[in-house]
């Protein structure tokens, strides 16, 4: 204990990070991130979620290494069709003698792609619509929010279905359709956050310094809305995966022979009574990954948005 009093001692990393009087912006930011990380790692369920999501990313990256067979080309149709799980085929084979494990491993790429692209398309749209509506107000707000409400009024899956029906089946169109149905809640949240900060003194100060509306929204309002929107997007990702799988199940998402998990369940559907593993295995994969995103989202919410945590 005596050392702590000696002024010459260099502070440990932990002390530097948790310093109540940070010397620079960088130190303050890192300190906050460190505290958030500590509170996140203190939540075992959130860590399970993080573990699953990181696992998904790793499997997607190393799919070629992890897969034991080709995900597309089947084996011998006479001897290797609809085989139960074994040492050779870890999760069994499907009706075209393809190794289900290898297909699941490669399918993780499709799942990850859907989730990331939907987030990349829908999040900025929601953020821009919400912050502009909230900050500018007046009739702009009225019009933008009405449009948002109309999209919210539509059931998501049905709307995505109708869009895919019009655009034609396929994974790209499924992603576009899901993104179109995803942004409204983000806009709602961003607007609510914007309304709470638009009258703050710091916004007034920036405006007095001559900042344009666009600059205020982009540089000062949006960053403050980010954390709640990110939490919402993470919580939404399980839903996005489920909708994509649902579209795949109905034959409207990724087309055969691509190893999309929902389409794999659809293919195993006719064999469910006699060859249970064909439809069951992809369902387990979807379940685990959605669970991971749900747990991660809950954990992030507890850390980033303590108000909503209760």
């Amino acid at each position: 204990m005596a050392e702590t009093h000696s002024p010459a001692r260099r502070p440990t990393w932990r002390e530097w990070l948790t310093d109540t009087e940070p010397a620079s912006r960088g130190q303050a930011r890192l300190g906050r991130a460190y505290l958030a990380w500590r509170s996140f790692t203190g939540n075992p369920l959130a860590m399970v979620g993080l573990f699953i999501v990181v696992g998904l990313v790793l499997v997607a990256i190393f799919a070629d290494v992890l897969a034991t067979h080709s995900p597309i080309a089947g084996g011998d149709l006479r001897t290797e069709r609809l085989k139960p799980p074994s040492a050779e085929f870890w999760l069994g084979t499907d009706h075209q003698a393809r190794d289900i494990y290898s297909r699941l491993v490669h399918g993780s790429r499709l799942t990850l792609m859907v989730v990331m692209l939907v987030a990349v398309i829908a999040m900025p749209v929601g953020l821009i619509v919400g912050t502009v509506a909230g900050y500018v107000g007046g009739w702009v707000d009225a019009v933008l929010m009405r449009v948002t409400d109309i999209f919210l009024a539509f059931p998501r899956l049905i709307l995505a279905l109708a869009f895919v029906a019009a655009l034609g089946p396929g994974i790209e169109n499924a992603i576009i359709a899901i993104a179109i149905t995803s942004w409204p809640p983000y806009a709602r949240i961003a607007r609510a956050e914007t309304l709470t900060i638009r009258k703050s003194d710091f916004i007034a100060a920036v405006r007095l310094q001559g900042a344009s509306t666009a600059r205020i929204i982009a540089r000062h309002v949006m960053p403050l809305c980010m954390s709640s929107v990110i939490v919402r997007v993470t919580l939404d990702m399980a839903g996005i995966i489920l909708i994509a799988a649902g579209l795949g199940f109905l034959g409207l998402g990724a087309q055969p022979p691509s190893p999309e998990w929902g389409a794999m369940i659809a293919a195993g559907r006719q064999h469910i009574i006699d060859f249970w593993w064909v439809a069951t295995m992809p369902g387990i994969a979807i379940f685990i990954v959605s669970l991971g995103f749900n747990l991660l989202g809950d954990g992030l919410r507890d850390v980033l948005d303590p108000k909503a945590a209760k």
Binding site: R146, V147, D149, I150, F151, A153, F154, P155, R156, L157, I158, L159, L161, A162, F163, A165, A166, L167, G168, A238, G239, L242, A245, G246, F249, L250, G251, L252, G262, I265, R269, I272, I273, W276, A279, T280, P282, G283, I286, F287, S290, L291, N294, L295, K310
Partner: protein, 351 residues
């Protein structure tokens, strides 16, 4: 005297503000419906199939093509086409299904009761189990029920509904034989049923034919249980958080200090206040089940609106798809509107 005066004035003012709020409300609902129409109209326009070619075939001479195009109103400006579309829809004309060659509205009227029956039963059972579970989870926080609610919630939010449906068929129909398989009735019973409402349980009960009713129950049990599970996952989780919120309020403390029994505090004081936001949650869950019908009805071969839409989709029958989409959208808006109105009715703070 003075007291009644202010009360009277307050009432007039309240009445005025209510009628103003109602006008705004009606306008918002109307705007949403027009928006829905615009979306379905827009989707109908971006279909990469030329509707004229679909009618005349690709061998038709140019003047026939032009005449049909004119007859279909496709030469008019877009806003005029939209106006015609809105007018037709308001007259109940959703087009004709290519697949069944009947008006889409007739088809929907035929298939919708089956969907309604399933979603209603699912929501009723979901609420019946979900609300008490949520209350108990909030009261015994961290206890066994709380853990159950948490796990049910996580599974309900993470598992694909069509996959659980398939597993349910595998276990309870194929392995255990507790329930009947896909469809609404066994084939032998199918023709004994007099369709009145289109809901199989009500129709068989009305006909007084208990053999048919029993068969219908054995068919509807599994899809109902599945929908009820998903509904319960959502309702119990929300009930828990509303109850936790209420139980931390000061009026609960006051009631405790006054010596009100714990049971009365939970079920009479706290739950009564939690019921108001719960109405919205239950309505939302109901709307979600109607939407989820697209997937569940495919799994259980249930002859409802969801399966009608997916069947039409697979046959590129766009007027049927868009008609079904529009009807589900309108029902969605209607449910939300009713739950909003109920909210205003039950929550004195919104008056």
């Amino acid at each position: 005297m003075a007291l009644t005066d202010t009360a009277g004035g307050g009432r007039t003012r309240a009445l005025l503000s209510v009628s103003g709020a109602f006008a705004r409300f009606a306008f918002m609902v109307a705007a949403t419906i027009v928006g829905l129409l615009a979306v379905t109209f827009f989707i109908g326009r971006i279909v990469p199939i030329d509707p004229v070619l679909a009618v005349v075939g690709d061998r038709a001479p140019a003047h026939v093509y032009a005449r049909v195009r004119e007859e279909m109103g496709l030469h008019l400006p877009l806003w005029q086409q939209f106006w015609i579309y809105v007018r037709d829809v308001l007259h109940g004309d959703l087009g004709t299904s290519v697949l069944t060659s009947r008006p889409v509205l007739d088809d929907i009227a035929r298939y919708f009761p089956a969907t309604l029956e399933l979603a209603t039963l699912g929501t009723v059972f979901g609420a019946l189990f979900g609300v008490p579970l949520g209350v108990l989870a909030a009261v015994h926080r961290g206890g066994l029920v709380d853990q159950v609610v948490r796990v049910v919630g996580l599974v309900g939010y993470s598992a694909p509904i069509f996959w659980l449906g398939l597993l349910g068929l595998l276990v309870f129909y194929s392995q255990l034989g507790w329930v009947s398989g896909p469809g609404r009735l066994d084939v032998t019973y199918e023709y004994m049923l007099q369709p009145v409402t289109g809901m199989v349980l009500i129709d068989s009960a009305l006909g007084g034919d208990w053999a048919v009713f029993k068969n219908a129950v054995s068919h509807i049990a599994l899809p109902t249980a599945l929908l009820a599970f998903f509904s319960m996952a959502y309702i119990s989780r929300m009930t828990r958080s509303f109850m936790l919120n209420e139980l931390s309020q000061e009026y609960i403390l006051t009631a405790r200090v006054k010596g009100v029994s714990e049971r009365r505090i939970i079920w009479r004081h706290a739950l009564r206040n939690a019921v108001v936001p719960l109405i919205t949650v239950i309505a939302l869950s109901y709307a979600n089940l109607l939407e989820g019908s697209v997937l569940t009805e495919t799994v259980f071969a249930w002859p409802g609106l969801g399966r009608y839409i997916t069947n039409s989709l697979q046959n590129a029958d766009m007027s049927a798809v868009l008609g079904g989409t529009l009807v589900i959208g309108v029902v969605f808006v209607a449910i939300n509107t009713v739950s909003d109105l109920l909210y205003r009715l039950f929550d004195p703070r919104t008056r």
